[in-house]
Amino acid sequence: AQRVTQPEKLLSVFKGAPVELKCNYSYSGSPELFWYVQYSRQRLQLLLRHISRESIKGFTADLNKGETSFHLKKPFAQEEDSAMYYCALLSSASKIIFGSGTRLSIRP
């Protein structure tokens, strides 16, 4: 079955500390993976996707096929990073499958 697992419902870190949001996937073949973010009172929006190999707002995510992971990382957390983060997978049927999400809380 194709699925996305985000093991942490809540992650709380201090401002300036490194952040790592975990994501594991189940997929046969070469996956296409995304991170979506929802800030308070805002719409769900795309943060980054692995095919773009880009850094957005200081966040990066590397696909590790051996560990079937796509963890989201940022070296120094900022208060404005507090949000709900969803890892997502493009299925073989061209549908987006979302994980259950991790709430990131940055403490001042």
Binding site: E32, R43, L46, F98
Partner: protein
């Protein structure tokens, strides 16, 4: 550019009542999606349209849910009759076309409470 518009923002109904949600996608976007997001879960795709045709409705509970996009632009999602477990946020999204790599743009959602 204007974003995906959804209405209403909130709806409270009693079980066995009917409810309808409306979505207007970004102009020029051929593909429209309806998602259901239950509290504590990620969005789950209910139905996907390409223009006015259904591409995927495999996860739509067709005994009570229906959706249409008659003119290939705006869309309505209906629940009749509603059950308690239908309480959720219903998200509409649109993208340029069917390519899974296209960015999906989401609306603000409709929060449905079934009492």
């Amino acid at each position: 550019e204007a974003g995906v518009a959804q209405s209403p923002r909130y709806k409270i109904i009693e079980k066995r009542q009917s409810v309808a949600f409306w979505c207007n996608p970004i102009s020029g976007h051929a593909t429209l999606y309806w998602y259901q997001q239950i509290l504590g879960q990620g969005p789950k795709l209910l139905i996907q349209f390409q223009n006015n045709g259904v591409v995927d409705d495999s996860q739509l509970p067709k005994d009570r849910f229906s959706a249409e996009r008659l003119k290939g632009v705006d869309s309505t999602l209906k629940i009749q009759p509603a059950k308690l477990e239908d309480s959720a946020v219903y998200l509409c999204a649109s993208s340029l076309d069917l390519s899974g790599s296209n960015i999906q743009y989401f609306g603000a959602g409709t929060r449905l409470s079934v009492l």
